[in-house]
């Protein structure tokens, strides 16, 4: 069961529309290293975790990623909302606008719709956690590339927050991997 909490994890108040930036940030909504992929990956992988620490951590980080999914969707929404048709046309956000208007759609910046092919659930906790470590690093780099293209502090602050969360998740997954490895090793001798 999940309960929705009617608030963002981190405040987003973007005052100036920027349709082009919206169509780049969308990649963290529905792109290969985005928040939807992250959440779906962890929430799907948790079933076969052999120790309670793993069941808890994948549930909790998978849940936090959903909050990030909402933050990214909010950024896209606010960046598109006040933009005129003219501004959208001039900005180069026309291809996205053609397919989705000012709506929020899970796609990569390059226009590939979201697919579960971005994630794996291998039935092997060691393999899954190694994927998770890589996934957190790839999400971190994506936020860094986005930060290089952002100039509005209203956009930069939430992106920095999201980048930092990937670093924390990577740390926690690393600790968990060692615990799971120890557990798997200990099983071999009994």
């Amino acid at each position: 069961m999940w309960i929705y909490e009617k608030k963002l994890q981190f405040p987003i108040r973007i005052k100036n529309p920027n349709p082009k930036m919206a169509t780049l940030i969308i990649s963290q909504y529905g792109g290969p290293d985005g928040e939807l992929a992250a959440s779906l990956r962890y929430l799907s992988q948790r079933y076969i975790m052999p120790i309670s620490e793993g069941k808890a951590l994948l549930t909790d980080i998978g849940t936090e990623e959903l909050a990030h999914f909402e933050m990214v969707g909010t950024m896209v929404y606010q960046l598109m909302k006040g933009a005129s048709d003219e501004e959208i046309k001039a900005s180069g956000a026309g291809p996205y606008f053609t397919d989705h208007g000012r709506g929020v759609y899970p796609t990569s910046a390059a226009g590939n719709p979201f697919t579960a092919a971005y994630i794996q659930s291998k039935g092997d906790p060691i393999a899954d956690l190694n994927e998770d470590l890589a996934a957190e690093q790839k999400a971190r780099s994506t936020y860094e590339w986005l930060l290089r293209m952002a100039d509005d502090p209203d956009v930069i602050e939430p992106l920095k927050f999201l980048r930092q969360r990937e670093v924390v998740h990577y740390q926690r997954f690393g600790e968990l991997l060692m615990k799971v490895q120890d557990y798997v090793e200990s099983k071999k001798y009994f």
Partner: protein, 85 residues
């Protein structure tokens, strides 16, 4: 941009909840850190009190039986999280 009392309270909730999330993830890997558990419980208590105050003033933050509603059905109260607040 002026920050309303509602947003100030919401920011307070966000700060306390962020601390709780951080401690929670840490405790998932360190279930025997009694000092961290004490901190978690103490921040949770503060968070619950601030959420209570917020929900009494501005309507429920969560639904499905997790918070009371004013009448009319206050779950509908604007703004929603993605709207400028």
């Amino acid at each position: 941009m002026t920050v309303s009392d509602r947003v100030r309270l919401l920011d307070e909730i966000r700060i306390l909840e962020f601390i709780a999330v951080e401690l929670n993830l840490y405790l998932d890997n360190n279930p025997n850190d009694h000092k961290a558990i004490r901190d978690y419980n103490s921040f949770t208590k503060q968070l619950m009190a601030v959420k209570d105050e917020y929900q009494r003033r501005y309507g429920p933050l969560s639904n499905f039986g997790t918070a009371w509603s004013q009448s009319p059905w206050a779950w509908l109260n604007d703004p929603w999280p993605w709207e400028l607040d």
